[in-house]
């Protein structure tokens, strides 16, 4: 169990394993304690200057000590709600107008925006056909070929097919 908790904290458990473990933690009274101790150990290892022990208990205590405000606030809330609703409606209208204008004025706006998107997320960019030779050269010496056998050559085929004119 302890081993599993430490694996969970390292983020190395699979989703279903993690879920069943969290269920167990909720059921067993002793485990939340372990959980805290492990985090304490982690904190000590990472930054020995600031150690928070029993932080959650202390926060709970402090919140208990806070005075409770009993003044009526109904109207203020309602008014704020109305403002939010109004501004939301206004911005919806604005979006509509902009969308309508862009449709009217220039049909190229939308494709341009679509093209800019990949630049924001460089990791999702596809490898360009011009780089295929690097992939083939790399593939030759990758240990994947030893395990997957001939199947690994399908990568080479699909790379070659990209550049076929």
């Amino acid at each position: 169990m302890k081993q599993e908790i430490s694996v969970l904290m390292d983020g190395e458990l699979f989703e279903d394993e993690a879920e069943s473990l969290l269920d167990n933690i909720k059921r067993d009274a002793g485990i939340p304690n372990d959980w805290e101790i492990y985090h304490l150990i982690g904190d000590v290892l990472r930054q020995p200057e600031h150690i928070h022990r029993d932080l959650s208990t202390k926060i709970r205590e402090r919140m208990h000590d806070e005075p409770t405000v009993l003044a009526p606030r109904g109207r203020a809330v309602k008014q704020r709600m109305r403002t939010i609703a109004l501004s939301a409606a206004a911005s919806l209208v604005a979006v509509g107008v902009v969308a309508w204008m862009s449709l009217q004025i220039s049909p190229e706006v939308a494709p341009q925006m679509a093209m800019q998107q990949p630049a924001l997320r460089p990791a999702s960019m596809q490898i360009k056909a011009g780089s295929n030779d690097y992939l083939i050269a790399h593939q030759e010496f990758s240990p994947g070929a030893d395990l997957n056998g001939g199947a690994s050559y399908i990568r080479t085929v699909s790379y070659s097919s990209y550049e076929a004119p």
Partner: protein, 321 residues
């Protein structure tokens, strides 16, 4: 006396048991897979999935006195065919059979070296995950979980009787599949079509000119380039100079491997006018990162996460010969 014998026997049993646990069982399976993949005759259909695409191909693998023969054919999209005889590979490109790869020096098997296996056990945790059925066969599922976040998780499904790899997946962040091979239909042994093997030998494929390079265009080198921050366990397996299409000067390639995946560093003089070559791109589990450093174009390619290729590239420097 008899008691002593029983005690010794018990002790021995315990000791061997402890010893057996020392060596992760997953590694034994890897050796079995590497061996079976080369030694078994089989034919089947498999699906290769990456980046929301999938490609279905048929494969026939037979061994003979002349070595291993293998034929791969794509079943969807444009017709593509690959024939391999040991280290030599031919492919149909524009309706002509041309050689795409030739490694005379490459031994046909087994390719997993003991030092690779020890690097593997130092950097991955091997776990047996139980049995599953793939393509109608019982398979042992084995997970290789990296001990750091600089490599991907590998999951393999091995046929328990033959040791053939029935399915293999590379898992990225949050255990999402980055790429996967899986047999959907497979025949092991028995009557397998061998007619094309004779054709392959008699058609004189061996004399055909190469598509990109023959062995003489690749030569070992000591370039003086080094990378300082490779993830632990990555050992240099190769340093070569090679000609590449469209490049005036030869390109230096340095290959590192941790037993399950490899990282290649390519160094070449930057003779391109474009400045926008910098950047990261990916296909399946492979990530590629380009950067220009002091008039040189450096490219890092590997079946490792984006952060790893970027980290490796930033540590590349010229150390002098």
């Amino acid at each position: 006396m008899r008691l002593l014998v029983v005690f010794c026997g018990l002790l021995l049993a315990v000791v061997t048991n402890v010893y057996a646990e020392e060596r992760p069982v997953g590694l034994d399976w890897l050796e079995v897979v590497a061996f079976a993949g080369h030694q078994t005759d089989y034919s089947g259909v498999f699906v290769y999935q990456y980046d929301n695409r999938d490609e279905t191909s048929s494969i026939i693998h037979v061994t003979g006195s002349n070595g291993e023969y293998e034929k791969l054919e794509s079943l969807d999209g444009p017709k593509r065919e690959i024939i391999r005889h040991d280290g030599e590979v031919w492919s149909y490109v524009n309706h002509k059979m041309v050689q795409v790869e030739s490694q005379q020096g490459r031994s046909s098997f087994p390719s997993l070296l003991p030092e690779q296996l020890s690097a593997l056990s130092a950097n991955y945790q091997a776990k047996l995950l139980g049995m599953e059925r793939v393509a109608g066969y019982n398979a042992q599922v084995i997970l290789f979980q990296p001990k750091d976040n600089l490599r991907y998780t590998h999951k393999i499904w091995v046929h328990t009787d033959s040791g053939l790899l029935l399915k293999a997946a590379v898992l990225g962040d949050k255990n999402k599949v980055a790429e996967q091979y899986a047999f959907t239909q497979l025949q092991i042994g028995g009557k397998i079509d061998r007619s094309w093997v004779k054709e392959c030998d008699s058609a004189g494929l061996h004399g055909k000119p190469g598509l990109q390079q023959s062995a003489k265009d690749i030569s070992p080198t000591n370039s003086g380039w080094v990378a300082d921050t490779l993830p632990s366990g990555f050992k240099k397996t190769m340093e070569i100079q090679r000609k590449m299409r469209g490049k005036h000067a030869p390109v230096t390639q340095i290959v590192y491997s941790d037993g399950l995946s490899a990282i290649s560093i390519f160094i070449e003089p930057n003779d391109q006018d474009e400045d926008d070559v910098d950047g990261l791109s990916s296909r399946g589990a492979v990530n590629l990162y380009h950067r220009i450093m002091d008039q040189n174009l450096i490219t890092v390619v590997g079946e490792v996460p984006p952060r790893t290729v970027m980290q490796v590239l930033s540590s590349v420097r010229y150390n002098g010969k």
